[in-house]
């Protein structure tokens, strides 16, 4: 999932960095004092999640957790992902500093997508676990698609890409869905205000009636 240095052409790197920077700016704008700690905790889990390895045949894949982070943090997933990826690049050697922008965009944007598309479903009386499962799986799938698109600009063939990236991540999507589903349903049951931090007023009202 981490794009290494020296593969993608410079314009793509620059474009990714600009888009990621605007995402981070939006995220930081929405970040007030009360929300710093949840963002830091999620950044820690994003940082650690990449160490949990899902065996997939010859390749090697790991959890991403961008779905969970997206559901909880909304746009603030961008700064959290940036910090997590920067530390992963420095400490573990995953990805690289020049590809930081593209990697942040590829992994954080699916999280925001989950926030925009799936968060409203949590208040429609549906099973929170199912929403969480789909958020986890969808976030990894979208991140894979974005990674494939980025690699296409580096002149890779689409079929080996689909095999190497997409198929390898199908088990990750399942595991990620289960982890995200259980985490979300647990948090929702025990501490629903976790999700109230970044919600629209009408969602907060729904919260008040639930809890």
């Amino acid at each position: 999932m981490h794009l290494a240095e020296g593969i993608v052409p410079l314009p793509v790197l620059a474009g990714g960095a600009v888009l990621a920077a605007s995402g981070v700016a939006i995220g930081l704008r929405k970040l007030d004092e009360e929300r710093i700690v949840p963002v830091a905790v999620m950044a820690s889990s994003l940082f650690v999640a990449s160490l949990i390895h899902v065996p997939v045949g010859p390749a090697s894949a790991h959890l991403v957790m961008n779905g969970l982070a997206g559901l909880i943090l909304g746009w603030a997933v961008f700064p959290a992902m940036l910090v997590a990826l920067l530390l992963q690049a420095l400490f573990f050697g995953y990805g690289g500093l020049t590809t930081l922008g593209v990697n942040t965009l590829n992994m954080a944007l699916p999280g925001v997508l989950c926030f925009l598309l799936l968060r409203p479903l949590m208040y429609g009386g549906r099973s929170v676990f199912v929403v969480g499962f789909f958020a986890g799986a969808l976030a990894v799938a979208v991140a894979c698609t974005m990674l494939c698109l980025t690699l296409l600009t580096a002149g890779r063939g689409i079929i080996p890409l689909a095999q190497g990236v997409f198929l390898a991540h199908v088990p990750v999507m399942l595991v990620e869905g289960l982890v995200t589903g259980s985490a979300v349903s647990f948090l929702y049951r025990v501490r629903p205000e976790t999700f109230a931090l970044w919600s629209k007023p009408e969602w907060s009202a729904a919260h008040a009636t639930i809890s």
Partner: protein
């Protein structure tokens, strides 16, 4: 250390506070205040001792986010820290050929194309790693070699072998005539054959040493790329620090707004 503990102790008395993220932001400031008090006049040791275990219990009881994170951390801690996803490459000279290995942090990287690049970015050959991630290549000339491995899903790594590491015979411009010459000279005199010349001896020793040292170098290479516990803990510490600094900055700006 003591001001920090006493700040924590003060918190322990009101565990309900731990659930309030707003107050978490005040922890750095609280520590700072206590530190200042200690070296000023009014500092007194806290009345109650709190063991770290009791502190962490309280933190767990009253903070659901922390609790949700714990399984993740436990799984990560239980894994042998070799996990993750970065491609690495190692190559060494063994006799007249070069043996190399491509591996992910935790498993061999099979079927990875390795491009061998000479000086002036000239592509000398492309080999593919086998099931165990290894590949061999016979160098055609004695020069600096750069091995570039690139996987399908966007991982890339490089390894360089300097010209000095390659066997001496590579520098000979025309190796075949010299071999014939030596054979012709050696032909009539059988006594020379039992005692190899000093050049031969040097070559044999160099080969034997490189063969013996290769696994050690490979282990060393793998060990430097392994994820260590201190990296993980260090990273988490950085995140806490960044959050604390950001919180302080936010507080300062919100205060100046008022």
């Amino acid at each position: 250390m003591r001001p920090y503990l006493s700040a924590c102790m003060k918190w322990r008395l009101k565990p309900a506070k731990l659930a309030n993220p707003h107050l978490w932001c005040r922890l750095p400031a609280c520590i700072l205040k206590r530190t200042c008090c200690k070296y000023g006049a009014g500092w007194k040791p806290a009345p109650q001792m709190a063991s770290p275990l009791a502190l962490s219990k309280h933190a767990l009881k009253s903070n659901a986010m922390l609790r949700a994170l714990v399984p993740v951390l436990i799984v990560a801690a239980a894994s042998p820290f070799a996990y993750g996803h970065a491609l690495h490459l190692f190559a060494s000279v063994s006799g007249d050929h070069i043996e190399g290995k491509a591996y992910y942090s935790d498993s061999p990287a099979a079927g990875i194309p390795v491009t061998i690049v000479g000086p002036d970015d000239e592509i000398l050959a492309t080999v593919r790693s086998d099931v165990s991630g290894t590949f061999t290549w016979h160098p055609t000339k004695r020069c600096d070699l750069r091995f570039v491995a690139e996987s399908e899903d966007g991982h890339r790594t490089e390894f360089t072998i300097a010209a000095e590491e390659l066997p001496r015979s590579r520098s000979a411009p025309e190796p075949e005539p010299s071999v014939i010459e030596v054979a012709a000279e050696d032909g009539p005199d059988d006594s020379d054959r039992s005692s190899p010349s000093s050049a031969d001896l040097e070559r044999l020793v160099a080969e034997a040493v490189s063969r013996e040292v290769a696994p050690l170098r490979e282990q060393l290479d793998a060990a430097t790329h392994r994820t260590q516990l201190r990296d993980i803990v260090g990273g988490l510490g950085y995140i806490a620090g960044v959050a604390g600094l950001f919180a302080l900055w936010k507080r300062r700006t919100s205060r100046s707004d008022r």
